[in-house]
Amino acid sequence: MLKTRCSLLFYNYKTTVFIVVTLLICNSGNSLFGQTASVDTSHIKILRIDPENANGTTVSKLFEKVNFIPLETSKDSFFSDIDRLETTSKYFVILDISTGSILIFNKTGKFYKKVSGSKIRTDAGLNASYRVGKMELTDDKESPLIQVSVGDYSLFYNLECQLVRKESSKLPPRSRMHRFSEGTLFQTNYPTKDSTCYGLVSFKANKILNSYFPYQKNQYKNSEFIADIDARLNNSYIDNELFFTRRFDYQIYKATPQSLTVEYRVVFPAMYHLPVDFEQTALTIKEMPQEYFRNDQKLAGVSDVLKIDSKLFFRLAEYGKSSYHDAFIYDLKAENLISISHIEPDSLSSFLPVTDLNERNGFSNSNFDFFDGNYLYTHFSAYAFFKMKELNDNKNITYNPELIRFFDKESRKSNPIIVELKPIKN
């Protein structure tokens, strides 16, 4: 299933059949936009990452506060899964793709309001075949609007769930967008009117500022291995900064309204490293990538980059093998790599895990849901939460009253649980 991540927009590498690549940076295509802008490589920091030797740590060494917030389960508030989560000062705003609805809960988990999928489609004038696919909050910190994408429309609701306005918007498939507060807009996979596409383009006031990574539209048409271009925007949660990553490229780019710079270059041990010219090789491969990498541990790229203080959160995409332990934290100061699957529960988290990565549940698809500058959010299904609690059943653990109530009164079918984590800052 396609899921959005905390880093602006994402879908799982491994479950995607049509694999994507970008062209060589230096590829010179004749563009309507003139010359392709150059990427600043003067400030590269090299990160040496050996995933096999990532370390473990405990919850309390990473976080100063952990809250498990069960979302109220009632007839009105019952929903399927958290496909996207954003927070305001008072509320959790949730997109549930399978019911197509937007749900609002207050910060203690009590249900507040919702817009049902059918109302969204009615407001857009569309029939039941259209899926509500995206949701995000606008930048207005005081009274943000909920922007919902369905069909070729963007609908804006206020936090009282009233429709404020409706706009038509059409993004090409696989194209993603991010708007900086100062007005600059970044779009991935931007097609021009001729045969050229760009991996990344920046606009301001409908004028193109810079264009990067050009490629020909039909370049990958006959390749089973690479069917399209994949480029991702990762919200850095810092004003006017954005992380940008690409398939088969081990560099982490930082986009600002003015420029695109290579911030980090990740180097892996040889067994994980793709050959340097792999982008070109990939064009000639006839098999599907899962087949090609059947007996290999090669890593396809870095994604979901988030920087909190001196800690860099990221995921690695691996072909073929199971990769539920592919989420990491790199402490840039201590130069220590931590595996998220080896964060050991301790008393701070009532000896319960803080992600469901080891249950092979939601986290492996959805990563961390949101970072609001102070708190990092993820979620569990009640099904996974009860399974985690079972491991503690023969120990003498005292849970807080809210968890005691949850385990007593609720069931595996209850609404998901939001995990609120406050990272320790240096």
Binding site: F78, N127, S129, G362
Partner: protein, 952 residues
């Protein structure tokens, strides 16, 4: 009836007479030990590591488990005050050991944190001890080397030793309660895919590991199915195994069989043959193969001759199967396989029977017919077929052909006499037959399938449009030549004028050609209405076209007593041709509703409606003008179904299905306008040109529930079906005073039936034993109209079956199966009279296999039969088969076996059946008591001989 409880007591006593042996391996285990594993170098809890507990004294493996998500382990049922060794291992870590013992007073020990250090990857290969169970990504692996078994053990014996795996009485395999859907060897089906061929033949010592993994669609892991792969040790993927057996018995009984199976990574070849006169009939190579597996050290229920089969059969059969894989290791979506089979069967059957048929007539009158018959038939049948499969990601093609050659020859004698209700003889009809026949048939078919995903990916029909396509063409021709001589004498004791004698020669030739074309288009909706409109609707179009051509030539001659020679019978001698064309287009609309909540449940409702029209034309041309027919049938045949499934993840799975279907049945030429052969005066079939097609409407409902939440899962299901038939093709029989029966097929309304079936299955896996329980019952009722001497009669039939089965295994020592079956039949007439026929059968079976020593085992199979029919005394008989077998030679390759079959000499095999207003009772010749001594040799070689020496 005294025998049944006595034998049960004897068996029960016998099985409990060896308690010492049975309990030797079950010490008093009440201590527990827990701890945590930690990688101290990387500072984390080590999950999915294997912990094994061994007894220090003899290094025997007591228990094992995998550390949980918190790196914890907790062993229960360990012996107290005994030195024990715990071993922790994980890929990429150095294996650690710790000696401990559980104090008697606390019955518990906390081993605290066991520290493990990363090691180099190669350490795994040089490590001396192998953990019994490991998690390799999502694959659960059982390492064969960790389980100590007899050197002659096979894979099945290893599976019984693994607590996580359950082998069921019916051949099913489950791992941690979930059913394994397919068993592969090195990633491929092994000799036809029957798991027994692999698990009962492959030695445990050739196996590196058993891998168990999910083959789930990623979007719905709860719907996943389990697959098992038997990974052979390096160099063991080539070899042969087989069986040569011979048995001689009293009463000139014999059985012999031989098979040889060769395999390599790309090729599998089987050559097999068998011959016996003890009713062991195999209809193909797979059955032969299934019954000649090596089997290992565990007790298992033996394959016995079928004592309930009528007559004595003497089959001789053999053949080969050959499979070749041209696309070895080209990837899972690539298939290039050739499969060929040849099978020859020669079967001789001697059958004799004595029956009495009571036919109820109007006014409480009956006709009683006594018949005795003797038949001797010999049939030779050869079949050769091949198929080649080619597949890639989007399409597959399958070519197949088949050639069959049949030859049969037979003689038969029947003497029949009829009495009225006062037991006065009214007529006799005696006949003798000599027949022979030859036939050949040839079939070729091609099937091409293109998945809708292809047109979508290539955008052949535009963006987001797709169309699937399937073409199936089959042509078959059949040629038969049959000849027969029939001599019949009919004597009437009422009217001597009616006495008749026939001596008739038949020479019949026929050629049939049948062609079938099935063309279907799936996913039509996206083409007609686009991707967005009509969500979750699918439209499919299928067209069936069948052409049948039949040419028949019959030459019939009768003896002319004055000439003492055969002269042509102008009435029956004929040349005819028959052609039918059936065209059936069908259009299906399906709408799918789904409602799901992530990690909780998914409910689906699929509603299908099909509109189908059946056009059928029949053309018959004959030298006999009344057989020149041109008939056309046309009928609308609707179908509708609704299937609802409710999958509550990790809790239960329920499926409800309701369907309505219709069917047209057309009369054939034999029913419309037959050439009447009057040699059998007890049954003369006449034609009816006014026959119409019949129309069946049926409604069926089924319900299935699988409770998944517990280890000992429970399944139950039930199904109900009811139908009404309009214009059903039924009999109208005229029976005269001499029991000369003339039958016409007529259309009549009022045919209906209802049937119900239900079953419950449950299994308990205990520490050293296993109990499997299954209960089933069924009920059916039908009402069939028919005319007898012009009077409309309804035969109401009621039947019930109830069955309970218990399967019990205790370690490798005992396998026991108990089953009780109770059947009732009843037929009641309404209209003609109110005669009722009742029949009750009960059958209790006890099968047991017991291992006295590692090499010596005994088998018992006892069935108690009781048959009660209206107006007769109950008949009881017991069939007791027993055998003792001893295996010798180093590899247990040789088996000596002594069998005593039908030990009580009670097999009578009663005939007792009810059809409409007839009750048939009688006896037939069956296999009876014999004793047999047999010797079996199993040639076996796995891996090349040179390699084997090296590895040893």
């Amino acid at each position: 009836m005294w025998l049944r409880p006595l034998i049960i007591i004897i068996i029960a006593f016998f099985f409990h007479a060896h308690p010492v042996y049975a309990q030797q391996k079950i010490p008093v285990n009440i201590g527990s030990a827990k701890g945590i594993l930690r990688d101290t170098v990387r500072n984390y809890l080590l999950r999915s590591a294997t912990l094994s507990v061994y007894k220090v004294a003899d290094s025997s493996l007591l228990s094992y488990q995998v550390s949980n998500n918190n790196g914890e382990f907790n062993f229960k049922n360990l012996p107290l005050n005994t030195p024990l060794r715990i071993e922790a291992s994980h890929i990429g870590y150095q294996t650690i050991n710790k000696i401990f013992s559980i104090p008697e007073n606390t019955k518990f020990i906390d081993l605290k944190t066991l520290k493990v250090s990363p090691g180099t990857v190669t350490l795994k290969e040089v490590s001396i001890s192998v953990p019994p169970i490991t998690m390799n990504g999502d694959t659960l692996e059982f390492n064969a080397a960790a389980f100590k078994l007899d050197s002659n053990a096979v894979v099945e014996d290893l599976m019984r030793k693994i607590p996580n795996i359950t082998l069921w009485g019916d051949g099913k395999i489950t791992v941690n309660g979930r059913e394994v859907k397919s068993v592969l060897v090195n990633g491929k089906p092994f000799f036809g895919g029957n798991p027994k061929i692999a698990t009962q033949n492959l030695p445990k010592n050739t196996l590196e590991k058993i891998q168990v993994y999910n083959t789930a669609p990623k979007d719905n892991p709860q719907d996943s199915t389990l697959e098992m792969n038997l990974k052979l040790k390096k160099g063991k993927n080539i070899g042969y195994f087989g069986k040569i057996g011979i048995g001689l018995g009293t009463d000139k009984r014999y059985e012999t069989d031989a098979s040889l199976n060769l395999f390599s990574p790309k090729m599998q070849l089987t050559i097999a043959g068998a011959s016996n006169n003890v009713n062991k009939v195999a209809s193909n190579i797979s059955t032969l193969l299934e019954n000649s597996t090596f089997k290992g050290v565990y007790a298992g229920i033996d394959y016995m001759p079928d004592f309930r089969l009528s007559g004595i059969k003497r089959p001789t059969e053999g053949g080969f199967t050959f499979n070749y894989d041209f696309a070895d290791n080209k990837g899972p979506n690539q298939q290039r396989t050739l499969a060929s089979n040849y099978f020859l069967q020669n079967s001789n059957q001697k059958a004799s029977s004595n029956t009495q048929t009571i036919t109820a007539l109007a006014n409480a009158n009956t006709v009683i017919e006594n018949a005795s018959s003797n038949d001797n038939k010999e049939r030779t049948h050869q079949i050769f077929n091949s198929s080649y499969k080619w597949a890639n990601e989007y399409s597959n093609v399958n070519f197949s052909h088949s050639i069959g050659i049949n030859h049969n020859i037979g003689t038969g004698e029947t003497s029949r006499s009829s009495q009225n209700e006062k037991h006065q003889l009214i007529s006799t009809n005696n006949s003798k037959d000599n027949s022979s026949g030859d036939g050949t048939n040839l079939t070729f078919s091609i099937n091409y399938n293109l998945s809708p995903a292809y047109s979508r990916k290539k955008q052949l029909l535009g963006p987001n449009k797709s169309l699937g396509f399937n073409l199936n063409y089959k042509i078959s021709t059949e040629q038969n030549h049959n000849s027969k001589n029939n001599i019949t004498e009919f004597i009437s004791f009422i009217d001597h004028q009616q006495n008749k004698r026939f001596d008739r020669l038949y020479d019949l030739k026929s050629t049939n050609t049948n062609q079938e074309v099935k063309l279907s288009f799936s996913d039509l909706k996206t083409v007609l209405f686009g991707d967005k409109r009509l969500p979750r609707v699918s439209l499919n179009l299928v067209n069936y076209l069948t052409l049948l051509n039949k040419e028949e030539q019959s030459n019939i001659k009768d003896i002319n007593p004055s000439l003492n020679d055969y002269v042509v019978n102008p009435h029956l001698t004929n040349v005819s041709s028959y052609r039918s064309i059936r065209e059936s287009p069908a259009f299906t609309i399906q709408k799918l509703y789904a409602k799901g909540m992530a990690n909780r449940y998914i409910k689906r409702l699929a509603i299908s409606v099909q509109a189908k029209v059946d056009f059928l034309s029949q053309t018959n041309r004959s030298e006999k003008s009344f057989q020149n027919l041109d008939l056309l049938y046309k009928r609308f045949l609707p179908f509708a179904s609704a299937i609802f499934t409710d999958n509550q993840f990790g809790h239960s799975y329920k499926e409800y299905s309701l369907s309505y279907s219709t069917k047209m049945n057309i009369p054939n030429i034999e029913q419309l306008a037959p050439l009447v052969d009057s040699t059998n005066l007890y049954y003369i079939q006449k034609g009816n040109l006014n026959l119409k097609s019949s129309y069946t409407q049926s409604l069926s409902f089924s319900f299935e529930n699988r409770i998944l939440r517990t280890k000992n899962k429970l399944d139950y299901r039930l199904a109900i079906e009811a139908a009404m038939i309009k214009n059903n093709l039924t009999d109208s029989m005229l029976i005269d005073a001499q029991n000369i029966r003339t039958n016409y097929v007529v259309n009549s309304d009022g045919s209906k039936y209802i049937s119900y079936g239900g079953s419950i299955n449950k299994a308990y896996k205990l520490k050293t034993s296993e109990i499997q329980l299954s209960l089933s019952s069924s009920f059916s009722h039908s009402r069939n109209p028919g005319y007898i001497n012009g009077v409309l009669n309804y035969s109401n039939f009621f039947g019930t079956t109830s069955r309970i089965k218990i399967f019990y295994t205790l370690k490798d020592l005992l396998a026991l199966e108990l089953s009780e079956e109770y059947r009732t039949y009843s037929s009641k007439q309404a209209g003609l009279n109110h005669v009722q026929f009742d029949n009750v059968n009960s059958l209790t079976t006890i099968s047991a296999s017991y291992k006295l020593t590692k090499k010596f085992s005994i088998n018992n199979n006892i069935s108690f039969n009781r048959n009660t029919s209206s107006g007769l005394k109950p008949i009881n008989y017991t069939i007791w088969n027993t055998s003792a077998s001893y295996r010798f030679l180093k590899g247990n390759n040789m088996e000596f076996k002594f069998s005593a079959l039908d030990l009580l000499r009670q097999n009578t095999s009663i005939i007792s059946r009810i059809t409409a207003n007839n009750q048939v009772l009688g006896t037939q010749n069956v296999l009876r008591q014999y004793f047999m001594t047999s010797l079996v040799y199993y040639p076996r070689q796995f891996g090349k001989k040179i390699n084997q020496k090296k590895t040893e």
